[in-house]
Subunit: 279 residues, 2 copies
């Protein structure tokens, strides 16, 4: 059996950085917690918990511990609360997400109606949205929602870093119909596009496609969806334990990719298990 592993599988820059910061902080701080799971990988979160990094949901639960801000960032109000309590902060917000937050704040301060292209429920988007607090701001998920926006003088647009460029482009074009001035920051992270394009290329040429990553990870789920469009024998798994022998029956080529929050050791375990399937 031939296995094709995507070069772009696994941790992106921001996740690698956040994870390293969390492990380093765990080494040097006796009492530390992360506000929400540091990344969307239950297995990695568990490893960190074993190192003493517990997950809290609210600022009230931090109680004198140092706190890690996860790669998705947090709402501006939450950061204000943390600062007001003079807590020790390890800010692992992805620098690309931070850029989107900064642009949202700047556009809002300069009087633009701010449009954030993204999923309204995603914590990264909620965070970016919270920075556009000086005026009107909208989270727009699809062209239909963009078409329903009211006309206004100035629209400023930023994107969730993991958005598809095509969706972003369609929404920007519709925003142009609504305003006399349009200012757009393309804050989409290339890593997502590169990963998606490579996954599609691999899915097109194999007989079975495996997408590894947290079921709570939006980018992994989207990756699995993209692969399924090219290859209907696509499975989204979180760990090697979920692989089923019958999937591999009669299969000669397997493709493997993984989401931005999938640790390398989980990818390695999946590869090892596939190798053993062939024996």
């Amino acid at each position: 059996m031939r296995v094709v592993l995507a070069k772009s599988a696994g941790f992106c820059f921001g996740v690698k950085r956040a994870t390293n910061m969390a492990f380093e902080a765990a080494e040097s701080n006796a009492r530390i917690c992360s506000l929400g799971p540091i990344i969307h990988s239950p297995q990695l979160v568990e490893r960190l918990e074993r190192k003493g990094v517990s997950v809290v949901r609210e600022v009230d639960e931090i109680e004198g511990r140092a706190v890690i801000i996860r790669s998705h960032g947090v709402n501006a109000e939450v950061l204000d609360q943390i600062k007001a309590r003079s807590l020790c902060v390890v800010d692992a917000t992805c620098p690309f997400v931070q850029k989107a937050q900064e642009h949202a704040a700047q556009l809002s301060a300069e009087g633009y109606t701010v449009v954030i292209v993204g999923e309204p429920e995603h914590p990264e988007v909620a965070g970016i949205f919270s920075y556009a607090r000086q005026g009107d701001a909208f989270v727009v998920e699809n062209p239909k929602e963009a078409a329903a926006l009211s006309p206004c003088k100035k629209i400023g647009v930023v994107a969730q870093t993991t958005q598809s460029y095509d969706n972003f482009r369609d929404i920007v074009t519709l925003c142009l119909d609504k305003a006399k001035e349009l200012r757009v920051y393309n804050t989409i992270c290339n890593a997502t596009t590169v990963r998606q394009e490579e996954a599609k290329l691999i899915a097109d040429q194999v007989e079975l496609m495996l997408v590894v990553g947290g079921f709570n990870s939006a980018n992994t789920t989207r990756l699995a969806h993209i692969c399924a469009q090219s290859q209907n024998r696509t499975h989204h798994v979180e760990t090697a334990e979920e692989l089923k022998a019958e999937w591999f029956s009669g299969i000669e080529t397997v493709g493997v990719t993984a989401g931005a929050s999938t640790p390398q050791w989980i990818i390695d375990e999946v590869l090892e298990r596939i190798e053993n399937m062939g024996k």
Copy 2:
């Protein structure tokens, strides 16, 4: 014979303003000239000449006279030359064109690669272009040219005031593919769109369509082209003298519109001649 006259036929705001300024200046100045024809109507230019407003092509020809800047505006360098000679200036640049010039200058000063959507040979476009003198600037006429632009960090876009919105939109969308930041000022003047849409509606419901205006007027020529797509019995005429009796044979409904630089008296003469055709 029923005649449908477009409400939007004739002078737009900027042309009306420039023409009034020119006639007023002619009343109060013994020696005055306009740098280029004040608007693209040979008949109006002739009337002004009879009032003493001659047309010069170069700054060198002004020779101590007061000078009228026409509605299209002039190149920044030309304005610099005029100012350097301390000439008396009547600036009849259309305020909407001036806005486009100001945005081009501001975008250029702020480090944007400036894209001017328009016809490279048009004096208005040459003027706007000249204001984007602090960095890279390109005149882009169609999507094909936009697609050929090199990627860059920041693109700023403005439009020739008489551009079609669809072309502008397509070019803006392609610019988004090229840059991380895109800033767009939609400087298209609504008068053009309103005039074009009304002309199309009328052309659709009449048997003969007449478009009145200078053959050297880009917006009149475009108007005639739009009408011809709906009604193949469309004629572009500059004056009433050009109307031909045979065009009206068997015709019961005639539509009339006119470009932004067509004087009211020429439209009136055309209407009068049509009325006499029916007798």
